[in-house]
């Protein structure tokens, strides 16, 4: 997947969790949880969806790398390069 495709994937998952989520003013370099109505359970939803859709097993110690949209793309890019 390209970086743009990964970004779209993450936003699509967040939209599934909260269809009212507003991405217009989203700063990709800032933490998602500071900008959207997301909490730790929602975050686990993102992890679960990545597992379901792409069989990714993300270890808990890597969760901080999913904090911002940019860091999500950085982290997921090598994992999804063949997806």
């Amino acid at each position: 997947m390209t970086r743009d495709e990964i970004k779209d994937l993450v936003l699509e998952i967040i939209e599934d969790i909260d269809e009212d989520a507003d991405f217009d003013a989203l700063d990709p370099a800032e933490p998602l949880r500071d900008q959207l109505d997301l909490d730790s359970m929602d975050f686990l939803d993102i992890v679960m969806e990545l597992r379901k859709r792409h069989q990714l097993q993300i270890p808990e110690e890597d969760y901080p790398q999913l904090a911002t949209l940019n860091s999500c793309v950085d982290y997921l890019e090598p994992l999804l390069k063949d997806a």
Binding site: D18, M41, L44, D45, M48, K52
Partner: protein, 412 residues
């Protein structure tokens, strides 16, 4: 504990298969409008069922409804509606002195069935089991979702009392107000049972699931052709306050809970037992300081099963057989069996009698079972009477649990 503390109902919020507010619900009860429909459940197939239609996102975001449970969604809606109806701002009482008591027949069955179904596509690999399972299935879930939505920090819990649970929650509310544990109680019952194929299948296996080609005619307590329970979704939440506080703020008072009782059959897993039911009614009357002939309306629990209806009729005959002024009706004939919400919804359907003196009918009776031929049973059309000042509300449940509430019109 002050047993003399008088407790009154000041607000009602509800979601029933035929209405999402008290006004419409009462109107349809009087007119005998049954809106039972047909549901199709995975594995099980089709069955008549009562489904609630209400504005699910009026008080809570879709995201929260998706994360929570159907019971939580119903509970949150009804609680806001009850508070609005009572004219109560949530900050009128100290939020730490508000108690939330929710009666449930069961909880977690729907969520568990759904999750087992969901991981089937992953060959039942539990790595795909949702982290939402536990918060959704803890028994306090619906009550807890209400507190989270409203920022209530007083006690909350659910009361598991099978189909007596709605009444049990009101009793709990009264007791906690009398103990001084809380200053205001949010009490009611909720059922999301229609989401569970297992609940339908279990009633069917027990030969206790009702059916009629026309779902609106399927629930027929006391009729010769009755053939079982019609499962309905539903919820009803009341605001309970002490009479003093209610008067102080000039609240509308629907009625005063003047008596209650609960007891156990100690006999059978599913079959009810009329003697204990009669004792339950008698104890509630005794606590209310009333005699049978003081009761103007008995709202029966009868669900439309062959033996259950007869058992309750035997009990009612023993207690009210000599009371010529007591009318009797049944709300399930109109809304089906809302399980944990049954007692509270059925009370709500009748509270209006205090104002209009109308007894809503027991519908769907074509041929009355002679064993259910109670004196003054109001059949098929509503009855206008001189006045209704007292209602006795029965709610019974599996594993031998009985509950009775006595509610009296407040006359100042």
């Amino acid at each position: 504990m002050n047993q003399n503390t008088r407790v009154v109902i000041t607000g009602v919020g509800l979601a029933a298969p035929n209405a999402d507010n008290l006004h419409d619900f009462r109107d349809k009860a009087i007119r005998g409008i049954n809106e039972t429909t047909e549901i199709e459940l995975r594995y099980f197939g089709k069955a008549p069922a009562g489904i609630c239609t209400f504005p699910e996102t009026k008080y809570r975001k879709k995201k929260d409804n998706k994360r929570g449970t159907r019971a939580g969604c119903l509970g949150v809606y009804c609680t806001y509606e009850a508070l609005n109806d009572a004219g109560l701002d949530i900050d009128y009482y100290d939020r730490s002195k508000i108690g939330v008591y929710i009666g449930l027949t069961e909880h977690g069955t729907v969520e568990t069935e759904n999750e087992v179904y969901n991981i089937k596509q992953y060959d039942y690999d539990t790595k795909y089991w949702t982290h939402h399972h536990n918060p959704r299935t803890v028994l306090n879930n619906p009550a807890g979702e209400i507190t989270m939505s409203l920022g209530i920090t007083g006690p909350h819990y659910s009361i598991g009392a099978a189909c007596a649970a709605g009444n049990a929650s009101l009793i709990q509310g009264v007791q906690m107000l009398r103990l001084g544990e809380v200053d205001m109680a949010i009490a009611g019952g909720i059922s999301e049972c229609v989401g569970s194929f297992g609940i339908f299948a279990s009633f069917k296996a027990q030969n206790a699931l009702g059916y009629d080609e026309d779902p609106r005619l399927a629930c027929k307590p006391f009729d010769m052709s009755r053939n079982g329970i019609i499962i309905s979704e539903g919820a009803c939440v009341y605001t309970l306050e002490t009479l003093d506080k209610a008067l102080e703020r000039g609240a509308k008072i629907y009625g005063e809970i003047v008596g209650y009782a609960m007891n156990s059959d100690a006999k059978d897993f599913v079959l009810p037992f009329w003697e204990r039911q009669a004792e339950c009614m008698e104890l509630a009357l005794q606590r209310a300081g009333l005699k049978a002939e003081d009761i103007d309306l008995v709202n029966t629990h009868a669900t439309g099963t062959k033996s259950g209806d007869i058992e309750e009729c035997k009990a009612v005959k023993r207690v009210f057989g000599n009371s010529s002024s007591t009318y009797i009706n049944n709300t399930k004939s109109i809304i089906g069996h809302a399980m944990g919400a049954a007692g509270v919804l059925e009370l709500a359907a009748n509270l209006g009698s205090f104002d209009d003196g109308i007894i809503h009918p027991t519908i769907n009776i074509t041929e009355l079972d002679p064993e259910c031929a109670l004196n003054n049973l109001v059949i098929n059309t509503a009855k206008q009477v001189d006045a209704v000042d007292t209602i006795l509300n029965n709610s019974f449940g599996m594993v031998g649990i009985n509950s009775t509430l006595v509610v009296k019109k407040y006359k100042g």
